[in-house]
């Protein structure tokens, strides 16, 4: 399934946030949306999901305008993985995953055994079957994010959309979640995600879209798109892009801030205080 945005403009009420965005997401692609806070990533995602009405332009799925589609019809094609949050009630993990079946279940019925099987299958795909009977609010953040991915998979979507799926995860969980996402693209699911780290885009995406003040600055393969100059435009900081080799002798790109905080440019009072603190500690 191909997702196409044609001259899309979006925003809240009278305020226009995103202007003239055109892009195509094809099967098997992993697309990273990069941009500073407030550049319109979330607004764009909300519009694609149907939560906001486009101010101008169209959203097309396989060439069909989704304007008049019901939210259930959209949900059968597009799955969404939100940022972590606390639900008000301590639902079981399996019940949370079953919610992914909403769009496939008739208005006045409950999930069937088949729906339960699909939910369990999705947990299994992410190797978290052991969490099935656990309480969603009591598992770790990384596990919860995986449960939300399983829930999106239970929707049986062809396109997955994520809004900073790793923003509240620790380093290890970020790596785990992102590599799971990469595997999904091998199942011919298209992935469109916003992210905070250019490095994640280097590692996991097939294409990068740089969003600056609501407009596309550049769209292309990660190595071409992410340059020191463009990152300066996007985030307003000097960055060096360094090529390193990992232990498998693969070349990787990393971004390092050019100016980082060292003892030299720290204000002197702080140094003084630090020395005093060190003295106080050693005399004890």
């Amino acid at each position: 399934m191909k997702l196409e945005l044609a001259n899309l403009g979006c925003g809240y009420g009278q305020r226009s946030v995103v202007k003239d965005v055109s892009l195509t997401v094809n099967e098997g692609e992993v697309i990273c949306l990069l941009g500073a806070n407030g550049c319109g990533k979330t607004t764009l995602i909300k519009t694609v999901l149907g939560l906001l009405k486009p101010r101008e332009g169209h959203i097309l799925l396989d060439g069909i305008n989704v304007k008049s589609w019901s939210c259930a019809r959209i949900a059968r094609v597009i799955g969404y993985i939100p940022q972590l949050h606390d639900p008000p009630f301590p639902f079981q993990v399996l019940d949370v995953v079953l919610m992914g079946r909403t769009a496939h279940i008739k208005p006045f019925s409950s999930p069937s055994r088949k729906d339960e099987q699909i939910a369990r299958r999705c947990l299994e795909m992410l190797n978290i079957s052991h969490l099935e009977d656990r309480v969603y609010t009591e598992i770790s953040g990384g596990e919860r994010q995986l449960v939300l991915i399983a829930r999106a998979l239970a929707q049986e979507p062809q396109i997955l959309i994520m809004d900073e799926p790793t923003s509240s995860l620790d380093f290890g969980n970020q790596v785990k979640v992102l590599s799971h996402i990469q595997q999904l693209s091998r199942m011919n699911i298209a992935v469109l995600m916003s992210c905070h780290f250019p490095e994640h885009a280097f590692l996991y995406s097939t294409r990068v879209i740089l969003l600056n003040e609501g407009r596309i600055l550049y769209s292309g393969a990660p190595a071409e798109a992410i340059t020191a100059e463009r990152l300066k435009t996007l985030y307003g900081v000097e960055v060096d892009i360094v090529t390193v080799r990992n232990r498998m002798n693969q070349e990787l790109q990393v971004c390092v801030p050019s100016r980082h905080l060292t003892a030299e440019n720290e204000p002197p009072q702080t140094m003084e205080r630090r020395n005093r603190y060190a003295l106080a500690c050693s005399s004890q």
């Binding site: 939560l51 259930a72 949900a75 969404y80 008000p88 699909i118 299994e124 049986e156």
Partner: protein, 350 residues
């Protein structure tokens, strides 16, 4: 990913152990139901009770009891027992559904102002000497008005949404309570005022078969609809946007749930008066027993609400030589229980 044929591994697991819990709750309700026939000022022996009940269904049972027994069982106790079950189940179900829909475990028909609104409507109807249908319609309009106001105001408060809903509910509730006081103030002190006052305290003492017949339709209607929608309450409890993205038409569901809950509350209030705390406490108690999944929580709230109300009504009949108003008893039982929940909040929701 798209065809079910790929799900080759058939992961079969036994059904989750909810059903025996629901069955136990049903058995408890039936037990209290039978017990309630025998309890009361006029003694009815178990043998008499069983024979009188059986005689309704089977002919040929020799009549050895006095005619009074039959009157007591069918004219006095049966309507009252049915009304207690209906009112308790209605308030508990409405409370449970409101909590899920507003994703707020602290709301109930009384806290949202629905009860006070329905009470105002009903008091107004009594003031204008309307009949039972009039009382119910007015109660429904009042309740709906109150909930809409509460919800509308809470949406405009930008801070803590959970607190905003509770606070605006409290405000709207006291507004309607003030309106009720106003009606009491201008009501005829010899005729209307005692009627309104006694009815407001919450009582099932003067219930008739006709009252039950009038209330059973709206309550069952709301209950059946909510029962069918119950799984979707799980989804909407995850939040408006998330539910929508999962494919739920949240506007339609919200409207339907508010209508059902308010209909049930209004029907309950119009036959029993204001009975507080049931809609808040019972869903929490049910959640402690069966967990937060509305698939089970809703039927559990129905059964538990009915059983609880019936038990409290039995206490109201038996504790003192004079009947104690139900609203007083439910508050005396409900408040300490809810305090316990708050202090051990792990039990309640988190």
């Amino acid at each position: 990913m798209h065809s079910n044929a790929e799900y080759t591994i058939d992961v079969k697991k036994p059904a989750r152990p909810y059903y025996w819990k629901l069955i136990s709750l049903l058995l408890i309700l039936i037990l209290i139901f039978i017990l309630s026939f025998a309890l009361g000022r006029y003694p009815v022996s178990p043998l008499e009770l069983i024979s009188v009940l059986a005689a309704r269904f089977f002919s040929g049972i020799p009549v050895f009891w006095e005619a009074t027994v039959e009157t007591v069982v069918f004219q006095v106790r049966l309507p009252r027992i049915l009304a207690a079950i209906l009112v308790g189940a209605a308030l508990a179900t409405a409370g449970a559904a409101y909590q899920g829909m507003f994703k707020n475990p602290l709301v109930s028909p009384d806290i949202l102002g629905a009860s006070a609104g329905a009470g105002f409507g009903a008091a107004l109807a009594i003031y204008f000497s309307l009949n039972m249908v009039g009382i119910q319609v007015m109660a429904f309009i009042g309740g709906l008005l109150a909930v809409s106001l509460t919800y509308g105001i809470s949406l405009r408060i930008k801070h803590d949404s959970m607190l905003a809903l509770v606070l605006s509910g409290v405000m709207i509730g006291s507004l309607f309570t003030a309106c009720i006081s106003m009606i009491k103030y201008i009501a005829d002190p010899y005729d209307k005022l005692p009627a309104i006052t006694f009815w407001l305290m919450g009582s099932l003492a003067s219930i008739t078969q006709r009252d039950v017949k009038m209330a059973i339709i709206p309550i069952l209607l709301g209950m059946v609809l909510l029962f069918l929608l119950r799984w979707r309450l799980n989804v909407i409890a995850m939040g408006e946007e998330e539910a929508q993205v999962l494919g739920l038409n949240t506007k339609r569901l919200r409207t339907l749930v508010i209508l059902c809950c308010t209909l049930m509350t209004a029907a309950a209030v119009s036959i029993s008066g204001l009975i507080g705390w049931v809609g808040l406490v019972i869903p929490h108690l049910a959640r402690m027993i069966v967990g937060p999944n509305y698939r089970v929580l809703l039927p559990a709230s129905i059964l538990l609400g009915g059983a609880y109300m019936l038990l409290v009504d039995d206490l109201a009949r038996l504790l003192a030589s004079m009947e104690i108003p139900l609203g007083i008893l439910t508050a005396l039982i409900g408040v300490p229980f809810f305090l316990y929940l708050l202090l051990n909040s792990r039990w309640g929701w988190k």
